[in-house]
Amino acid sequence: MRGVGRRRVVLLYGLLVLMAAIYILPFLIDVATSFKTEEEAAADPVSLLPGTFTTAAYERLFLRSDFPTWFANSVVVTLLVTAGRVLFDSLAGYALARIPFRGRTALFALLVAVMAVPNVVLLIPKFLVINQLSIYDSYPGLVVPLLADAAGIFIMKNFFESIPVSVEEQARIDGAGTLRIFWSVVLPMARPAVVTIVILSFQGSWNELSHFIVASQDPALFTLTKGVAQLASGALSQGSQYPLKLAAAAVMTIPVAVVFFVFQKRIMNASTGAVKE
């Protein structure tokens, strides 16, 4: 650290450690409080070590509430949406990048336009279509509208355009059809982009709330976001129930946290598309 003043070093580290503490502390408080009794959560909301350690909140959550149903629904929806987006986004991205067809430019312009429409404007429109197609209050209603996303197609198209055409031409000379080339030559090469789509879709659909609100009302179809949101506004509770709510918040964070830490490097480098609203 030659050339850097000692005071400046102390100042920078001090500032960063303080900021990091502010960012991390809420999550630690969340986990700590979920193991406290309700009385202690109210009396001592800051301490990171529960005075009396109890798993009552988790027992209640997993054994005597609809939480397991919400969790299962979230898993099913997230897996289907992620698989669907990988398939449909890459197919569409490939076609837009490689296959000349009439109206390709217009279609791409439409895609960009769709990306620009704010999500909240689409709440009522989505409900209308879901209702019209008679898939309201059903798994298809939860899943199908999310199966392709404009941003994902955009990412795949950009990636396919960066791959040299020569590889595919070689395969074509060897007699492979377009679909076959796509499946066994192009898609394997697109692995980095596919991983990006997987991460973005996983996080996006696991954390999605508004679509599930407008697509269903049956409690059997609640996902974690919708269920926990109901819990927050007092559905299960008498009193504040903070340990229970915070336990629910902690558990629903675990899957995205795991994905985040596994793919950390890639997420940090490709997060442009993951902007939260």
């Binding site: 197919l91 279509v129 392709a148 796509f182 506004s233 918040a249 902690a250 993951a274 939260k276 609203e277």
Partner: protein, 322 residues
Amino acid sequence: MVSPAVLLLGTFLAVPVVMALSVSFSDWRGVGSPFGSDVGFVGLENYRSILTGGTLAQRDFGTALRNNAYYVLLVVPLQTALALALAVLVHTRWLRGRGFFRTAFYFPSVTSSVAITVLWLFLFSSSGAVNEILGWVGINGPAWFNDPRGLLHLALGGVGVDQPPAALSENTALGISWWEWLAGPSVAMFALVLMAVFTTSGTFMLLFIAALNNIGEEIDEAGQMDGASSWQRFRHLTLPMLRPTLFTVLTLGLIGTWQVFDQIYTGTQGTPAKTTLTPAYLSFESAFNDQRWGQGAAIAFILFAIIVSLTLVQRWLLRSRT
């Protein structure tokens, strides 16, 4: 090959928008098909009832607009400044543990808004962690999510202005008095402002870090040779080069903050005293809870128009200064 995705996006994005537009011109109440013969065409009636007439619908819309405007005015500058500051700090050449700090600042961005809202309701409850910590330094914290008082009104009260001048209380815009427009964000809304800054600053920090990496160090070193201080180098060398990223961050911030929905649905449902009501939530509530679908759709399209026009204005402002 492109067709499945186009079919999906067309069916669930393009067609719906057109359908909703037609609903916004109708008196559909949620029963039967919105395109059935018993649904009347009412022209601009839904838009008129939101924008004129002094009805409850208009007052709610005015209130929601005011709340969200203050939210945007606070969140966008704060999150942009914080994201930039964090990026510059983390980008420091001789810093160790860079990965740890980046992870810490970015983690809130990947967690669901529902989980963060639940956490925030606890941290900012009247006897919650934030007030406890404020108590350590002798500050008696407010009741946060139960406190509808506007920050600007509180500040004015602090200098002795409790009663509005007649000019402010008598004149109204969008159904609420000028005095109410000047209330500022409520204490409850301010807690949501802090939450937004907490969850989005990490995302935007990454955009700034990527831009800083692209700039490279030669220019900074050249500035150092010429004897410029680190602040001068930042202000006159780095910042101008970050301009495109700054534009992206401000635009994304503007678009995102005008759409606050999840946090309101999960946390406050517009309470206390409608001071956390936002147009996005009001649109949802009018349609899905009150069955006034035409009005809900109309609010959504007005919101859309606001977002598009503000983005264009911002683009024009930032461009004309270069």
